[in-house]
């Protein structure tokens, strides 16, 4: 398989996953804010913190108001993590590998892109947003189903899974980090709202129901962190993602160095006693985890993808 094709499949999967995760995040935040009293609500800034694009955001917007943040995350083409940018990139990646991807999948993605562009206005309004985002999430789920169910499960498919699960692990850890950091002070009278925030963490990941089934205790910080980082049966948990990535890596040639990097990452994940970490320690842990994910991505790129173009030679006078 051509390196470029592998790379395109990988990014296709990452961008699609980014679309879904971003849509979830916006949707859940909107619901969360409805449940919190005005004075203590964290507002919309945490979403930009999660995306890590604060600088770009502040360059173009005056404040972290709802309209601005939602516009930035849904439809701002200047932001490469916005839904519209991710869809555009996914579509371009898909177009070049139309012989690898089943035709229906291409059509589904194309349709999703058209829907997202044509209804962007509606998606930016309070009343239209819910439908818009729900459609987005359902379409991505449908697309993933099509790919899983109809594509050859060969090396190309492994790259699809690598992209999807690395992006997902990255996003899950970001959500936990930011939500955790902005949590309310540990004052007793705020306890009910504290729970609501952790519920929103779970809901961002559609993990609430599965958490209840699996943990069978009320929602609180320690078990939630354990669930979304350490579960090996919840498909959006970081460990589950890592195990899937490992399975994919094992089926690829020349995988030694990527597997080593993943091994280190998995060991540090397993070693973390999440429940006993303070906010700061948790934040440091997530930082380290993300650095590890970035390093794994780098390892994958170096091993299998096209080398970056060499910088143009200096003009000879």
């Amino acid at each position: 398989m051509l390196s470029r094709v592998a790379e395109n499949i990988y990014w296709l999967a990452r961008y699609i996953e980014r679309v879904e995760d971003t849509a979830r995040l916006v949707s859940v935040n909107a619901n969360l804010l409805l449940d919190l009293p005005r004075g203590i609500a964290p507002g919309w800034k945490p979403l930009i913190d999660i995306s890590g694009a604060n600088e770009l955001f502040e360059e173009h917007y005056k404040d972290y108001g709802e309209r601005q943040v939602v516009r930035f995350l849904l439809g701002d083409r200047r932001h490469c993590g916005s839904i519209i940018s991710a869809l555009t990139a996914a579509r371009e990646n898909c177009r070049t590998i139309r012989d690898i991807v089943p035709r229906e999948a291409w059509e589904q993605l194309n349709g999703l892109f058209l829907f997202a562009s044509e209804h962007l206005q509606q998606g930016s309004t309070k009343s239209g947003r819910h439908r818009y985002l729900r459609e987005m999430i359902a379409s991505v789920q449908g697309l993933n189903g099509l790919l899983d169910g109809t594509m050859l499960h060969d090396q190309g498919y492994e790259f699809l899974r690598l992209g999807r699960y690395l992006e997902r692990a990255d996003m899950t850890s970001r959500i936990a980090d930011v939500r955790s950091a902005t949590l309310l002070p540990e004052a007793d009278e705020l306890r009910p709202f504290d729970t609501i925030q952790w519920v929103s963490v779970l809901k961002s990941l559609t993990a609430y129901q599965m958490y209840r089934r699996s943990e069978q205790i009320r929602v609180q910080r320690g078990p939630v962190l354990r669930f979304i980082f350490h579960s090996d049966s919840f498909p959006r948990a970081v460990r589950y993602c890592m195990e899937t990535v490992r399975a994919g890596l094992e089926r690829l040639p020349r995988n030694e160095s990527a597997l080593r990097t993943l091994g280190r990452l998995a060991r540090s994940l397993d070693a973390a006693h999440l429940e006993s970490l303070s906010h700061t320690e948790l934040h440091d842990f997530v930082d380290e985890l993300q650095a590890g994910i970035a390093q794994l991505h780098q390892e994958i790129a170096t091993t299998w993808f096209l080398p970056l173009p060499e910088p143009p030679a200096a003009e000879a006078d």
Binding site: M1, L2, S3, R4, A6, E92, R95, T96, R98, D99, R103, W106, Q155, L252, P253, R254, T303, W304, L306, P307, P309
Partner: protein, 505 residues
Amino acid sequence: MSQEIDWAQYASDGFYDELVAAPGEPRAVARTLLADIGALGAEELAARQEAADVSIKEMGISFTVYSEEGGAIDRAWPFDVVPRVIPQREWQRVEAGLKQRVQALNLFINDLYHDQKILADGVLPREVLAKSINFREQCMGVDPPLGIWAHVCGSDLVRDADGTIYVLEDNLRVPSGVSYMLENRLVTKRVLPELFEHYAPLPVDDYPSQLFDTLAALSPRPADYPEVAVLSPGIYNSAYFEHSYLAQQMGAELVEGRDLFVDDDDCCYMRTIDGPARVDVIYRRVDDLFLDPEAFLPDSTLGVPGLMRAWKAGNVALANAPGAGVADDKVVYAFVPEIIRYYLDQDPIIPNVPTYRCMEPDALKYVLEHLHELVVKPANESGGYGMLVGPASTAAEREAFAEAIKKDPRNYIAQPTLKLSTVPTVVKKGIEPRHVDLRPFILSADRQQVTTGGLTRVALRKGSLVVNSSQGGGSKDTWVVSEDLPSEPLASSRDAAERLSQTQD
């Protein structure tokens, strides 16, 4: 039941119609076809046309155009459901003529890059070569496999009012359109299956395997299964659909320049997830000048640094060979009859359109005096750019062209305005004649093969002679059929046709 189509009302005034000899009088080869289409009636035919349009959209048959926003968009391929029919006996002659032509052109190109005997013998004026913009110094002395330079040639044929078929031009660089020829047949089978009950047009779908065999024959490692790649400039190229289509059909890799590299051993490799994989043959759909920044344009990023080195060393075959475009020059075209006589000692089977070479004083004088009735073409423009169409021109345009021609007569040829033949075509209200041309594709390697018919391009606008898809042109399925049609179809041939359509869908 919709109204039958009355062929007595169909008139292609003054033009040769491929299917209808005179109002109400079908050509022998099209008699049954016109009866079948007539019986369908205008409404039903319009419905089938709509079904075809839907089908094309669903099948994703598209060509790329540039949108105003700067991105590239895919457009559905315009298609007309009424097939163009060519009698097999006529086609055999055309086929022989095309093979003869391309054989001579290959000998000619090879000669230009070696001894240049044709110049020494004074058959082709030295001036023509001296001013050729597609002649590549870098190719001098190179011996491509089998001595062939133009492996895939698309020659445009037109039929004039008296029924004579002429070659209008030869495309020896990166001719495109063959994928649409293949898809047109599939669409016709889907939307007008009943036409195949009375006709068994010769199949067209062996082209991809013929192309693969042609390319494989060039492999520098004949003992091994050859690694063939299709080199595309990428998704923004207008023919990207065709590049990916042909790669898929041949089971070859579709690559871009950055997927390839030439190593110190002068071999060309693909970058794969298993590491470098050697490539034997590249069907390149990238123009010469973008092939290799080391040899041609240093700023180009479409190509592969060192590719010419690998090609000259004989470690990778390129189709078409770099430099083959030297025979694409319209002035060279004007010499093709002489080229055929010189290399093959034969008379040309298919004539050229009568052509005035402005570099010759008598011709120049005649052209300048008759600009208002001639079509003047610069030597190296493609896609109909930079032309003067005399009858449609203004005095100022003719004045400007006269100046340009006098300044550089070598760069211009002139031809009488052709009366392109017509084929019945579906329009809003029934059926009307529309002008067509034909682009067959000729493959050359260890042997020569010509597509069955080719791509018929049709000017969908009334009276228009412009067949380019980007300018409102469309296409038709093209049938080469035996004239000895049985009055009732043989059971076996019908079964065969059905089997064929089943396996192809």
